[in-house]
Amino acid sequence: MAQHTNSGNPNVDLAYRRKKNAEDMKHQVISFALMIFLTLVAFFAIGYDKFSPWFSVPFILLLAIVQVGFQLYYFMHMSHKGHELPALFLYSGVFVAFLTIWAFMTIVWW
């Protein structure tokens, strides 16, 4: 991809890119902290046995989905430009995944 920020001076471009990368890295560390937090909450929700499974099971599934969102959109850069086709591929996979799990959980009874 061409450098959109070409000033003609490579050192200026480098400084700009370094700064942008550092900013990006800050977002990554914040998502990591949030992911750790979500994991702790999930383990706590199961470890603390006062919650009924009717609450804790959907709750930890939701936490898992949020955490995977951070992983995909920040760690795997899906929030960046140029990820339209990756998103199509991944969500097609997720669609088939959903159908498979739904089918197995409803028609398998033995």
Binding site: M1, N21, Q28, F43, F75, L85, L90, F104
Partner: protein, 206 residues
Amino acid sequence: MHVEEKLTAETFPASPEKATLEGKNKFLGFWFFLGGETVLFASLFATFLALRDRTAGGPSSDELFKMSIVFIATMLLLTSSLTSVYAMYHMKNFDFKKMQLWLGITVLLGAAFLGLEIYEFYEYVHEGLTFSTSAFASAFYTLVGTHGAHVAFGLLWILTLMIRNAKRGLDLYNAPKFYVASLYWHFIDVVWVFIFTVVYLMGMVG
């Protein structure tokens, strides 16, 4: 720009993984593969969910699973995901040595995770859960074992890249290779998030 041209921090492009046609193709092809991997793991998750209570008189998940070991494994893998992000950060800044260092840390954390999983399976076999004990046992070992095999493959992949390119340094030929390997590593973590939630935590509430 020639793929094997020696670059400097100034001439290294902003998105080195997509600066060449080969890199662009690798990037797209790899995401297509990850879509397929999603389906593979979905079929294993679906089988596990359908059969997780069929213990055939053998040990059940709430008798076997211990929260401490799953928690440590989760933290190891999650941290290794961040360290591979650091590796890619240094790649974009054209700092080959730091990239190698962070990839090395990622490999160490991944190896610790794998060691813990082997220990865990060993324990379960001693407690009477072998692959053919019950439908639950087969579904459990197949799902978690397939994930473990992915971890093992990922470790070998990253190590191979590190050793193969140790003297070569960073260029537009190998930048997409490192990038795609780090995507694979994150995907392994994505699958683990669902494994610790669906298999272990849900298995502990019965």
